[in-house]
Symmetry: C2
Subunit: 251 residues, 2 copies
């Protein structure tokens, strides 16, 4: 069940089979299923437990008084919503399902047990939330400095790398590809652009051969080219096994 999370955390550190068993167990205690566009929780809610995305896509978002909506993060399998939120009394944003979703609800107590029991897992969770923070900072930069095509290209680069890090890309045959179950409207909410302009931007990207997007599959003929137009630098994703020093324990 916790396959994607384990795979992601292993980008940072190796995990013992004990660690993995613990994660598997935590992820299978209670699984909740949501339909597309349902909310996992809403702004103002009291946080109760940690949610782990097992399957499907979700997004964090904020809504302004007048209805404008900003997606502040796209969540894919292996992502944790609000690892630490139990410190705060109220959620300051919402998380909603983009596709039908299956989510593990992990009680905060279980999380505390895990982090107290294993320094490796504790650090791995820590790393995970630091990366989330770094992604948020990169989004600020993306929205503030990059223009339309760079912005969308950047998001595609990020998604590709994040999906690859949890084993959700196809690199067979010629070009790498992945499933993108997101509408152009949602892309607009994530990039701070209008739907119309997202559409035109996507078209330009297609014309320039940067992406092929048919149905729900995106193919990237030339990743380097895409990264170039995006001014993409992957360092903020910290996919560098920085925590290797921590696993003295087991092979």
């Amino acid at each position: 069940m916790a396959f994607h999370l384990i795979r992601k955390l292993e980008q940072f550190t190796r995990l013992s089979s004990d660690d993995k068993r613990i994660l598997e167990q935590a992820a299978s205690l209670k699984v909740r299923r949501l339909g597309s566009r349902e909310d996992i929780f809403r702004e103002g809610d009291k946080p109760r437990h940690i949610n782990l995305i097992l399957d499907g896509w979700a997004c964090r978002y904020k809504v302004l008084e007048d209805g404008r909506r900003q997606i502040t993060a796209l969540l894919i399998p292996g992502d944790l919503c609000d690892v630490h939120m139990f410190i705060l009394t109220r959620m300051d944003h919402s998380v909603g399902a983009i596709t039908p979703l299956s989510v593990a609800e992990i009680p905060t107590d279980t999380i505390l047990e895990i982090t107290h029991g294993s320094a490796r897992l504790s650090r791995a969770f820590w790393w995970n939330s630091l990366v989330e923070e770094a992604i948020a900072r990169e989004w600020v930069t993306n929205l503030g400095q990059r223009e339309a095509i760079e912005r969308v290209a950047h998001l595609f680069c990020e998604l590709f790398l994040r999906l690859r890090s949890v084993g959700m890309t196809n690199s067979q045959a010629s070009c790498p590809s992945f499933e993108l179950p997101v509408t152009q409207e949602q892309l607009a909410d994530a990039t701070g652009m209008s739907t119309v302009h997202v559409n035109r931007t996507i078209q330009e990207m297609r014309e320039r051969g940067l992406i092929v997007w048919k149905g729900k599959t995106v193919t990237i003929p030339d990743l380097e080219a895409l990264q170039d137009v995006a001014l993409f630098n992957a360092n903020y994703l910290h996919l560098d096994h920085a925590g290797q020093a921590y696993d003295a324990n087991e092979p």
Copy 2:
């Protein structure tokens, strides 16, 4: 020395005099002074210790290949740079001084001692970094959804409340005011706007009586009016003493 940090953390939880003494001590171990526009650290650096801003303003920022620059956070006295960064191998962004700065360098060991020694302080630090994350998300929303005047107004509201929470505002006489040692160019880098347009936006705000900005002092004649044009909702700052339940110890 650690006055502002203590004051800020007390927005979350009450601290014992022991807690405060520990913080004071940590903040006075080693103090570094920087001139305006010097960097505390740069993207690519290896994080060595935690930096606590004692005096002056700083900013986190990222620079694109072609020189475009985005400020992703404004840092004021009491703010910690990279509480958790020692998990990561390389910094993915820079932090630079806006004004002359005095910064406490706190060794990671000291931080670990503190957090292991006091559950209250540990949670307070946690709260602090959750709030930083929340601010980053709000900035994403700000850049993505709000137009120029709303965006600048929002930043002013945020700064006012954050400064007030560390005791750096003046509410005497009639209207609240604070020192803003930031150039319009830096404001532009923070809001993703051009300098020229920041200038024009500020002028409109002045004409509409939303702010008075003379020299380095900003006065807010009508905070509610400013919040209204900003579509500002303070919940993301979590200034609600959420951690009061934690201080059973001392009066």
